[in-house]
Structure formats: C-alpha cells, structure tokens
C-alpha cells in the first residue's frame, strides 16, 4: 500500500502523467464535414487556437472544435499561411487554458518532448520521444523557417497539435510525418513571429480576460467590457510597468 501511494505521488512516471493531464486541457479536436480530423492548441487566452493550414484546408467550410470537456464549438478562421502551414482560429470559449509557450531557439538535440493529438481520430493521445534534430527550410518566398525533428510517434490527425518540452511548454506545431518514424514540427518561435504579424503586431499584456455585459452605472456608452480574470506571473501587468 505504501508503494502504491509512493508511485502515485512522486517519480518520473507520476510527474509525466501530471504534465500530460495538465497540457491536454489546452488541446482541441478539429473536424470538418467529411472524414479526417486535426488537432489545435489553445495558444492565447480568449479562445485563440493554432493549427496547421492544411487542417483548415481539408475541413471545408464547416470546421468545428471539440474541447476535452465535451463542448463542440464553431470556429472562425482568423488568418492562414500556406507557406508556413499555419492557421490561427478563434473559438467562442474564453475559459480554455492557453498552453505556456517555450523558447524553441534554445532547444537541444536529446531533450525529452511529447505530442498531444488525435492520430487516426483517437482522442487526446499522448506520445513521447526526444528532439532528434534541428533544421531549417526555406519557403517559396525565401523566408527561413526553423523546424524540429523528433522520434515521437505521430500519425494523420496529429497535424496542428502541440509538441511540448519536459516542462510542458509548447515548442512546436506538429506538421508532417515522414515514413512513420520521423516527425517534423514548426518551431514555436516561428509561430510567434507569424502570429505577431498576422495579428497586426499586437503587444502582450499578460492578462487573462473574459467578456461580460457592463452594469448600467458604468455603461459610459458601451455595453460590454473585459473582466481581468488572471495575471501571468512575471508579466508587464504583474510588474506594474505595463
């Protein structure tokens, strides 16, 4: 019995199970009218979802997102980039927890990584491995994009899902599977660069917000406002220098 308790409260296996359980909350299942599906990851508060462009292209006009707690949500496509194979979506659910974004420029070959996705449509599957290699490719318009190769086992349906490091931070978006044993992810710093340009160079406040109708006494010509519901540790807001 003591061994049982020990197993569940400490050690690498239990630690990894906790990591997987926590990060699965930030993953959605994207599906269209026809068969086939993809994965999306909550990248920012307010229902901002990252995925692959080819997942959006394959879904037709009726893309929807399933959350792990069973909600089936409509999807608005905010921006797409075919060269980077990235798309940013928005779902009308502000309570979905965004994943922490890691620094993919500091990744090393040999680091533990894991993926969450829906291979062959199986929901929220976790697979683990290591960073096998770090590479660069050039898009048609000459842009250099960094990618991560890994030996994490992926299959169709994992596309658009997160590749996460040993601390549960997203370091890439899984994009391609070669021959079943070499998976390629677009590095998260490339995703951030594109996202900044696609969203019109927005600045980061580091707060989680939730829209709500304003009380009559503070209407001031508006009907809705954003309630600050969380402040990221170390963010400009918490430091009071925003």
């Amino acid at each position: 019995m003591m061994m049982h308790v020990f197993y569940h409260t400490s050690g690498i296996a239990a630690g990894f199970a906790e990591l997987a359980e926590r990060t699965r909350q930030s993953v959605v299942h994207l599906h269209g009218a026809s068969r086939g599906s993809g994965t999306g990851v909550i990248w920012q508060p307010g229902g901002v979802v990252l995925t692959n462009d080819h997942v959006v292209a394959g879904a037709g006009d009726v893309l929807r997102a399933q959350t792990i707690d069973g909600r089936d949500l409509p999807v608005t496509v905010m921006a797409r980039n075919q060269d980077l194979d990235l798309a940013v979506l928005r779902v009308p659910a502000v309570d979905l927890p965004p994943v922490a974004v890691g620094d993919s420029t500091r990744l090393r070959v040999g680091e533990l990584v894991f993926a969450i996705g829906h291979p062959w449509g199986q929901p929220w599957v976790v697979t683990a491995g290591i960073v096998s290699g770090l590479g660069e490719a050039e898009t048609r318009n000459g842009q250099r994009i960094a990618f991560i190769r890994s030996d994490v086992r992926l299959a169709p349906g994992n596309s658009g899902g997160p590749l996460l490091d040993a601390r549960g931070k997203v370091i890439g978006i899984n994009a391609m599977v070669f021959g079943g044993d070499l998976s390629v992810a677009i590095a998260s710093h490339i995703v951030e660069q594109w996202l900044n340009s696609a969203q019109g160079r927005r600045v980061r406040l580091g707060v989680g917000v939730q829209p709500l109708p304003l009380p009559a006494e503070v209407l001031n010509g508006r009907t809705y406002g954003l309630l600050v519901v969380s402040i990221e540790p170390g963010s400009p807001q918490q430091n009071g220098q925003g």
Partner: protein
C-alpha cells in the same frame, strides 16, 4: 529531506540526455563513402575513425566532416566484413575521441542512438537496450556479440554511436548486419577490432571449407563418445583444408582440437584467428566408428 518532484525528475532526465548528445557530438563525423546517403563514424583515436563497413561502397575518394565543420580526406585502413566495421585514418583529425562505457549494455537501459548523417548537426533517437546476445550468424559471418535496440535507425545512422545517458559509447550502431534491424557492435569488441585493423589491416578468421548441419546422433552410433549432437558434413569445398584432411560428405564432425562440437556456433568459435595455420585433430564418426584426422586450419578469404 524532501525528494525531488516528478516534474523536476523529468526536467533533469531531459537535460541529462541533451548533455549526453553534447558530449558525444564532437566525436561523431559524417562519412562520405557511397553514392546516396552519407553515413556516420566514431572518432576512436586522434587520427582514426571507426565506421560501418557497408557504408563504404568504394575504397578511395573517402572524406569525413567533423563537428567543427572541417572536410578532411580519409584513407581506408582495413575492413572487417563479419562485424561490419571499417577503420579510416585521417591526417590532422585531432578531435575528441569517444569514451567507452565502463560497463556493458544492460537490457532495459535507456539509450540514445546518435549519428551525423549530414553536416547540419547530430541527430538522435531514444530507446532502450532490447537484447544483448550472440553469437549472431549473418550473411556476413558470425559475430561474437551484438546489442539490439528499439531506438529509431534514421538513414545514415550506421557507423554512429549507441550511447548511455552519460554520453559514453555502448556500441557502434549499424543496420548492415541484418538488413534494416537496429543493432550495435559492443564497444569493447568494436574497439578491439579497430585496434587489430590498425595493426594488421584485417581480421583473421579460420576456415575449414565445409557446410554442415547439426544432427542428433542415435545412441547406438556414438562410437563410445558421450555426445548427443554432432555436425553432419553436407558439402566439402574442393581444395579446402577439409578436403586436404580427407573429410567426406556423410561424416559427423564431433570435435576439433579437443573441443566438443554440438552445433555450428561451436564450430565458428573454434575457427578463431589464432588457429589459422595450426594443424589440429578433427574427430569424426564415420560408419559408426570414431576416426581422427589431421586438419590444417586455413584463413577465410574476404574476412
């Protein structure tokens, strides 16, 4: 005292594996010796690289590329087809030599396969030691011991290193012994063969010139020997040591040089390099009687 949390342990393991790759990367080179995919090699001495024999499809015009980006000409010192190993000499190499692991590989141990299939940096895959065993008979011959792993063998990984999580080499990685199967030649054996290749240019192995298959000897035909199994000779090569000794098809070989032969692995073990040229007694059962012939062990060609 509080024990480290699971999250801390995972981060520590992750860092340790990345450190292991950092440690081995300077001792790994890209080997250019065939038309298609370049392969990998391990620096075993300040001017020597050990690689896989099957990745060298030519004897000349060989080059290697180092971790610090140098391209250097390499000369073939020797090949050992049986163990799928080849040794290269490179003037001015002067890089870090790889460290062998202190202990042999253990089944279940975490390992990394690390190669340098292109000059763009090392590549790695994670797995465990699946089996440690031998001798293993392949089309190339019989090798004393091999390590099997489930780490993914990426194209060009042959000649690379199977390392433990400290970055020490457990074996030289190759898929050439059995097509496509990820195996490693244990480091102690690989280094020993490298040493012999450096001094002799080849590995000597004994040669008899027979084909045989293990058979059960009926109790009534054991000719006084307490031996249940023997090797039935099914072919004798013309002009071979076996032919000159007078061995015939149908003879049951039961011993050589005083060593009992129960199966073909026993025979392979007897035909070691140090017996080449030695004249030793061969015991056979012929027509229900024990006959002792004198055989001079030859040297296998192309070994």
């Amino acid at each position: 005292m509080t024990s480290p949390s699971g999250a801390d342990l995972i981060s520590a393991l992750s860092n340790q594996m990345a450190d292991a790759v950092e440690r081995i990367r300077r001792s790994l080179v890209t080997v250019n010796g065939r038309q298609r995919q370049p392969a990998s090699g391990i620096i075993v001495a300040t001017d020597e690289v050990l690689t896989a024999d099957h990745v060298l499809e030519r004897d000349d015009d060989l080059t290697i590329q180092t971790d610090d980006g140098r391209t250097l000409a390499a000369r073939l010192v020797g090949r050992d087809r049986t163990s799928d190993l080849a040794l290269l000499r490179i003037d001015g190499l002067g890089s870090d030599t790889a460290a062998q692991a202190d202990a042999p590989a253990r089944v279940g141990q975490f390992v990394l396969a690390v190669g340098r299939p292109s000059p763009g940096g090392p590549m790695a895959s994670l797995g465990v030691v699946s089996a440690v065993g031998g001798p293993l008979r392949t089309r190339r011959g019989t090798i004393e011991q091999v390590i099997q792993t489930d780490a993914t063998p990426y194209p060009g990984f042959s000649g690379g290193a199977l390392i433990d999580v400290t970055g020490a080499v457990l074996g030289l990685f190759t898929t050439g012994l059995i097509g496509g199967v990820a195996l490693a030649i244990p480091a102690s054996l690989a280094w020993r063969i490298a040493h012999t290749l450096a001094h002799q240019g080849h590995i000597r192995r004994g040669f008899l010139g027979i084909s045989s298959q293990p058979v059960t000897i009926p109790p009534g035909q054991r000719a006084g020997r307490n031996q249940e199994y023997g090797l039935l000779i099914v072919r004798v090569e013309p002009d071979s040591p076996a032919h000159h000794a007078g061995l015939l098809i149908g003879d049951i070989l039961v011993g050589i040089d005083g060593v009992t032969l129960n199966d073909t692995d026993d025979l392979q073990a007897i035909l070691s390099g140090d017996r080449v040229g030695a004249t030793v007694p061969a015991e056979i059962i012929r027509g229900g009687a024990l006959v002792t012939l004198s055989v001079t062990i030859g040297q296998r060609k192309g070994a």
